[in-house]
Structures are given as structure tokens and as C-alpha cells.
Amino acid sequence: MFASKKRSTTVKRILAYLILIAGSVAFLYPFIWMIAASLRSLEEIAKSGMNVWPQNWRWDNYSKALSSFPFGRYLVNSIITTVLPIIGTVFSCSLVGYAFARMKVKGSGLLFVLVLSTMLLPGEVTMIPQFILFKKLGMLDSLYPLIVPTFFASPFYIFLFRQFYSRLPVGLEEAAIIDGSGYFKIWRTIFLPLSKPALMAVGVMVFMGSWNNFMGPLIYVNSDKWKTLTLGLAGFQGTYSTATNLLMAAAVVITLPCIVLFFTAQKAFMEGLTFSGSKES
């Protein structure tokens, strides 16, 4: 009887692998084709169909694609609008999240409900007035509208940090309070170092969000000087809609940093996302 049970788990295991591999093909294939297409000539793309392996490796597609728009400048803009929002979000949201998690004072519960309720608000409602606001502040056609708001904390990440900090043991900060340190110091010296997985997870999520942000730059940025890679890619699609190979090359270059980052940050990212709070520490 024992043997038959063992055999049935082996069968299940093989079945699971078959499903997983079939799914992987569906999830990975377009991705691989994108890379392959970026290395082909246009004639070959037209003939290749489902084939993946390029016959003639056209590495010059990449140099052609990158020289057809001011790649360097767009890249710098993309980096600025990614790095600064990461700093801004991590700093402000962990601070606010810490306050909501560890400092129960009069009115803190009510305020948190307000934070959560703003998560439901669609961006479209405030889109037009924000545009006007940034105009009044003289910040249109610059990178400021994409950076400044991130220094004032956003509800989704406040929520995430709050969930994370409330799981840490009660009394973690008691000794420090007796010593007379301020709450800012406690946050900086105790909670920030302890929350590396959460910081990493939020950092990676903000990276993906800002690096891939399309609507923001589309609305706020106009001149070439401040355009980001996503706008470059969209413009590219308009101008060279027939040059699929160059388009794919540009898309690969823009996607690459995300993949590299995800691979390096994977473990921390997955850990930081476990925020349901049912694990007792």
C-alpha cells in the first residue's frame, strides 16, 4: 500500500512538471521571440514565423536602434526619474508607515483610514488639476512632477511598511525610549536596519513603476531634453512602425535593467512581499 502511494505522488509530480513546463513555454516564448527578432533582418522576420533561432545575427540592429533617438539623454532622464523617486518613497513611506505601526496616539486610527481610502481614488480625477498645479509652480516640461510627489509618501507603500513594522516584536524600542532617544532616532537606528527586506521590496517595486512610467512623462514632459526611455520607445513605434527589428532591440535594452535588478533582488523581494502579518515573530 505504501509503495502505491509513493507511485501516485511520483505521477502527480510528473504531471505538475508537465503543466509547469507547458505554462513556461507560453510565458517565456513571446519574450524569447522579442530577443530573437531584435537580432534579425526585416525580411527574415517576415519569413520566420514561430522560429526562434536567427539565421544571420544582426547585432548592428542595436546600434541602429539606439542611435535613432537621443538614447543617452533619455537614459539619463530615466535614471534620474527612477533613482530619486526610490529615495523619496523609501524615506517618506517608511517614516509614515513606522508612525502608523508603532505610535498609537489619539487620531492615528482615523488618519490611517483616510490613508487607505485615498488608495481607491483613480488617478484620473486628480490628473488635470495636478497638471495645472505643476504649471502654476513652473514645473511643466521638467522632471520635477515625476519626482517631487514621491517625497510626500504614497498610501500603497505606507500600508506595506505599516504591515511590516507592526509584525516586529513589541518592546523593541522600549530600551531606547528609556535612554531618552527621540522617535526619529529609533526609526533610523532600529527599524530601518531591521526592515531591509521591506526596503528592498519597495525599492524594486518603485523601480519598476518609475522606470516603466508612461503616462507621467507623456503628460508632463514635452521637449526632447527631458524625455525618458518609455517616451522614446513610444515615439519610435510611431516613426518606425515598420522596423520591427529595431523596435524590438530598443525594447530589449529598456527591459534589460528590470530583469537584471529582479534577478539580483529576487530573494529580498519575495520575502518583503510576505506582509499578511499572520506569522508571529
Binding site: L28, G49, S108, T118, I128, L233, F262
Partner: protein
């Protein structure tokens, strides 16, 4: 693509309003100063014994969000409500026209079209996304040695940038050389023109949305790994089948996450923009998403008042749907601390 926005920028420049700005460094210094002032005020209040340290510190920390909320959310909300009652082409001052924008909206056939497109997309793609991502998460929770590899593979499409994604899928749905029709041809089926056909464009976009369920999948996975193993052991003792274990243990345990994913996917689906923008509304407006129609009105045709009215109607729609899901959640979302689940577990730990 935004020739009219260009005009707008030039208009502001002519008004003596420089479009290009303050250099970056001074501005960041300003933010640092703002933070410093907030801290200094708290210090002062505490020293003067106006507030207890904890309360003062709490409000100081939270003020970082409150300032942003007033400036970037509440202020714009109130203003947006006001301009939705005006006619405003940006270049002239707004003119109060009462509820005209809203009345016009109900006679606007394109408004109904975009509403229909958005509803179609939301009501079909969200259930599919929620179910598929849960199914994948269950597979990813299997105890297999290579599971990390599969987790990465299934998450990878999420990393492809939005514009790149749409561009890639424009190829995939290419009627002649695209992936989907090539696969169909293997089975002797001649596929439709997908993105060039009014009736197949939306199914194509929905298929595309399923490619990026990795984000939801990871959130489910976090929940699945949190389910206490003891519950499954108990079910095993009772001789439960795999299906019963899923139905009576797994599903109730992750229902709060199911709920979270449903709400966020739904809100996201109602706000879909890039797919509409890059396909310019699709053939015969079949991909004219609401958010894109709103964008057209406000930023291409400068009908800011009408655009704002559209935004508020969308807000009300999302609010109603979210409220419905929240209302129904009492029936199917199981919270541990409500039904005494936590107590049960605490007792078990003691034993």
C-alpha cells in the same frame, strides 16, 4: 502625438512663464529644508510642553504624508470638481456652466462607447486574471526543487515595460507572421486579423493582460506560504481529499488576499490607458478605453471641464463597484481574528 500639448507649452512661454526650470539641486534642498522645519517645529512644541513627545512625533512623521495629501490629492480633487462645472479650454479663464458638462456626457455616444469598452475589458479580464493568477500561485507553491526557476519565469513578463509589451503584442497578433496565427495554422485554423478587427481587438488585449498575472501571483504566493501547516495536517487526519483541502482550508485562508487582488485588479482595469493610447483607440473605436477618451478630451482637445466631468463619473463608477465588492466580501472573505481562528492557533501553540 501631442502637437496640441506643444501649442499649450508655447502658449505658457509666450505668457512669460518659463517652461524650463529651477535646476535640480536647489529644489531637493528645498524638500530637505521643508522636512527640517517640520522636525524643528516638533522639537519646539515638545520643549515648550505643548504636546507630549509621542503625539508630537507621530504628527510630525505623518505630516510628511498630510502635506502631500493636501497638495497633490485633496487640493486637486476639489479643484477638479469645480472645473467639471465649467467650460475651460485652458487658454481662457474657466466659465461656470453648471451641470452642462454632465448633461452633455449623457448625450455623447463616444462616452457610451468608451464606457462599454472599459466595462467589457474589466468584467472579462479581471475574473480571468484573478483565477489564473491563483491557479499559477497554487502551482508555484508546490514543493519542487526547481520551483524558484518557474517562479522567475512566470514573473518575467511583468518586467517588460508597458510600451514594449504593447509593441511586442502588436507583433504577436499580427495576422500573417504573428505568433498566435502561426500556432493556429499548425492546427489548420486561419486566425482573425486580431488588432485590425473590431470584434477581435478586445479579446487580443484581454489575452495580453493574462500574460502579466505574475504580479498578482506573487502576492497570492506570499499568502499561501503564510497558511499554518497544522491546518493541513488536521485535514489529513480527517481524511480530506485534495479538493476539500483546497475548498475548506486554502481558499478561506487566502480570501483576504483574493479580495485585495480583486479590488486592485478591478481599479487597475477601469483605469487602463496605455493599450488604448498605443493602438489609438483600435479599429472602429473598439479599444477606446475610458481613460484614453478622458486624455483625448483634456490633453488633446483642451476640454478640461468635460475631461474633469468624465473623471468624476469614472470615480463614481469605481466607487460603486468597489463598494459592491466590499459589501459582498462579508460573504466570502474570512478574517482570522473575526471567527476566533487566531485564538485557536494560540491555544495550539501553547499545547
Amino acid at each position: 502625438m501631442n502637437g496640441l500639448i506643444e501649442t499649450l507649452y508655447r502658449f505658457y512661454e509666450n505668457m512669460g512663464m518659463p517652461a524650463v526650470l529651477l535646476p535640480l539641486l536647489p529644489f531637493l534642498t528645498l524638500i530637505v529644508i521643508l522636512y527640517a522645519v517640520l522636525f524643528a517645529v516638533t522639537r519646539f512644541l515638545v520643549k515648550k510642553k505643548v504636546m507630549r513627545t509621542k503625539t508630537a512625533s507621530f504628527y510630525m512623521f505623518v505630516s510628511v504624508w498630510v502635506v502631500g495629501f493636501l497638495l497633490f490629492t485633496l487640493g486637486p480633487m476639489i479643484f477638479s470638481l469645480y472645473i467639471s462645472f465649467t467650460q475651460w479650454e485652458v487658454v481662457n479663464p474657466p466659465v461656470w456652466i453648471g451641470t452642462d458638462n454632465y448633461r452633455m456626457l449623457f448625450k455623447d455616444s463616444i462616452f457610451y462607447k468608451s464606457l462599454g469598452v472599459t466595462f467589457y475589458y474589466t468584467l472579462v479580464s479581471v475574473p480571468l486574471q484573478v483565477a489564473l493568477s491563483l491557479l499559477i500561485a497554487l502551482l508555484m507553491n508546490l514543493k519542487l526543487r526547481t520551483i524558484y526557476l518557474f517562479r522567475t519565469i512566470y514573473y518575467m513578463p511583468t518586467l517588460v515595460q508597458g510600451v514594449a509589451q504593447v509593441v511586442l503584442f502588436i507583433w504577436i497578433f499580427n495576422p500573417n507572421v504573428g505568433l498566435i496565427n502561426s500556432v493556429l495554422r499548425v492546427f489548420g485554423i486561419e486566425g482573425p486579423g486580431w488588432l485590425t478587427s473590431p470584434s477581435w481587438a478586445m479579446p487580443a488585449i484581454i489575452i495580453m493582460s493574462l500574460w502579466t498575472v505574475g504580479g498578482n501571483m506573487i502576492i497570492y504566493l506570499a499568502g499561501l506560504t503564510d497558511i499554518p501547516q497544522s491546518l493541513y495536517e488536521q485535514a489529513d487526519i480527517d481524511g480530506a481529499t485534495a479538493w476539500r483541502k483546497f475548498w475548506n482550508v486554502t481558499l478561506p485562508q487566502i480570501s483576504p488576499i483574493l479580495f485585495f487582488n480583486t479590488v486592485t485588479s478591478m481599479i487597475g482595469a477601469f483605469q487602463t490607458f496605455t493599450q488604448g493610447f498605443l493602438t489609438a483607440g483600435g479599429p472602429d473605436n473598439s479599444l477606446l478605453f475610458y481613460a484614453y477618451y478622458l486624455y483625448q478630451n483634456a490633453f488633446m482637445w483642451f476640454k478640461m471641464g468635460y475631461g474633469s466631468a468624465l473623471a468624476w463619473v469614472l470615480f463614481v463608477i469605481i466607487l460603486i463597484f468597489t463598494a459592491l465588492v466590499f459589501r459582498s466580501s462579508a460573504l466570502w472573505v474570512y478574517y482570522e481574528n473575526e471567527v476566533g481562528g487566531r485564538k485557536r492557533r494560540v491555544r495550539k501553540q501553547k499545547a
